[in-house]
């Protein structure tokens, strides 16, 4: 089935979060007017990216990363012939022109640059192709998406959207049950760490905002980035009385009939009532 849509409706950070949580493998293809960016993932980690159909060669990536100068690029291109990036990488390492770490760091920067460009796209058709993998001759990396998502979220969110995402500051937060996620590995700023320290199902977001001296916009920005990265989820605050539905037995039809209110009455009676409904619905 399709995983496709428009960035206008489903943002890049939401897509990255989906890829991350679902540990997807494949390529996200995003297009707008004449541009196309392809970002590949392996088990939920960024592995490769390219602009358009043609991927930049390793020498150009190293040149832009200032690991090679123009003369070196020309010389390498003349000698390398039809070498793949993997072969070329080995050659460069063996020639002591660059180290393996420098190659990987340069490629990471290049791939992240592609994703960062996507963050500036507010519109564009996307689809995720499970079968489209990076070309075999290209060097792939493994970049965790959590920090990327947090960074992208910082860049993209505006007040109206934040308000839409977090309609009430009276909700509390709890850490998600996500095995393997270590808070220490996340790049959070001081304000975000401060908010993290107050996350507890007993504290409403408004209380956290007050304690950390944040206005509504600032606290929404921070909380939203945590939610997008799958670190926390919104819950009803502990200890807050649950609002009871109002019983209106006197209302006319279809309210003329006395209505059973699940919030009141005997539990056994109520269970029997639900069982009767289940039997009926099974039979229709």
């Amino acid at each position: 089935m399709a995983l496709k849509g428009n960035l206008r409706d489903f943002s890049v950070t939401q897509l990255l979060n989906l890829v991350n949580v679902a540990r997807k493998t494949g390529t996200l293809v995003v297009e707008r007017s004449q541009e196309q960016i392809l970002v590949s993932f392996r088990e939920g980690k960024l592995s490769f990216a390219r602009n358009g159909a043609e991927a930049a060669g390793l020498t150009m990536v190293l040149y832009h990363a200032k690991k090679l100068n123009a003369a070196q690029v020309r010389a390498i291109n003349e000698r390398s012939g039809g070498m793949s990036d993997k072969e070329l990488g080995l050659l460069l390492i063996n020639s002591n022109l660059v180290s393996q770490q420098e190659i990987l760091a340069s490629l990471q920067t290049y791939y992240l640059g592609m994703v960062n460009r996507l963050f500036t796209w507010s519109e564009g058709l996307f689809h995720f192709d499970n079968d489209l993998l990076p070309p075999m001759d290209k060097i792939t990396v493994r970049i965790n998406l959590e920090n990327l998502i947090i960074e992208g979220t910082r860049k993209m969110r505006e007040w109206e959207q934040l308000q839409g995402e977090i309609p009430s500051l009276e909700m509390a937060l709890k850490f998600s049950d996500r095995p393997g996620v270590n808070l220490r590995n996340l790049n959070l700023n001081a304000d975000e760490w401060k908010v993290i320290s107050f996350i507890n199902p007993k504290n409403t977001i408004r209380q956290i905002a007050k304690a950390t001296n944040k206005n509504d916009l600032e606290i929404r920005r921070i909380v939203f980035s945590f939610i997008q990265a799958g670190l926390v989820e919104m819950v009803r605050p502990e200890g807050v009385p649950v609002p009871q539905p109002v019983e209106q037995p006197e209302q006319p039809a279809p309210q003329t009939l006395p209505r059973i209110n699940p919030a009141q009455g005997n539990k056994t009676e109520f269970k029997s009532l639900i069982d009767r409904i289940i039997s009926k619905i099974r039979s229709i």
């Binding site: 496709k4 989906l18 839409g164 209505r259 059973i260 699940p262 009141q264 409904i277 619905i281």
Partner: protein, 186 residues
């Protein structure tokens, strides 16, 4: 005669009216009006106050299904309709990711009105553009505890399954509620 009600909510054009129509024993009492806004013209009519369906359980008990209007400008009806409900169903159009955020907002709004059990129905799963259930769960940021059910609203069996899952959730909620008297859900 006793009555109980469930609420079917969700964004505009998610399939709420169709869902109720599939199982209601009466012709759905609908308050549909022609759509005036061009941007919302993906169908000819929309619900402006509520839809209303009925299932007679037995001689003494009737289940009412209320469908809420999907457009925000009619959201004053939502709280009224949510009063006293057994639980609610959030319908989402699996093929329109642009409505996922709205579905999430509606879900949060109804959770705030009444902490009753709920399920999410991923409608239009027969559409070729429908997102997979697992992807929708992530997009809607639903915890694994929340039931997200594939659905085709005009398929009676699929609708029955959604209703039954909501009822099972209500029973499960009761099991974890300690007090015998004064039962409260949520």
């Amino acid at each position: 005669m006793q009555t109980v009600k469930m609420v079917v909510t969700g964004p505009f054009n998610a399939g709420k009216t169709e869902f109720i129509r599939s199982v209601s024993e009466i012709e759905v009492v609908s308050t549909e009006r022609k759509i005036s806004s061009e941007s919302e013209r993906v169908k000819d009519q929309t619900t402006v106050a509520m839809d209303f369906g009925r299932i007679s359980i037995d001689e003494n008990l009737v289940l009412y299904l209320f469908g809420t209007p999907g457009q925000r400008r009619f959201d004053f009806m939502w709280e009224i309709l949510s009063e006293g409900m057994l639980g609610f169903i959030v319908m989402v159009d699996s093929s329109r990711p642009e409505t996922f955020r709205e579905a999430r907002n509606i879900l949060e709004t109804f959770r705030a009105y009444a902490p009753t059990p709920y399920v999410v129905a991923a409608n239009k799963q027969d559409n070729k553009d429908a997102w997979e259930i697992d992807d929708i769960r992530i997009a809607l940021r639903l915890s694994p505890r929340v039931k997200l059910l594939p659905c085709v609203a005009r398929d009676k069996e699929a609708v029955k399954k959604v209703l039954l899952e909501l009822l099972y959730s209500i029973l499960e909620e009761m099991e974890i509620t300690p007090s015998e008297e004064g039962y409260t859900s949520g």
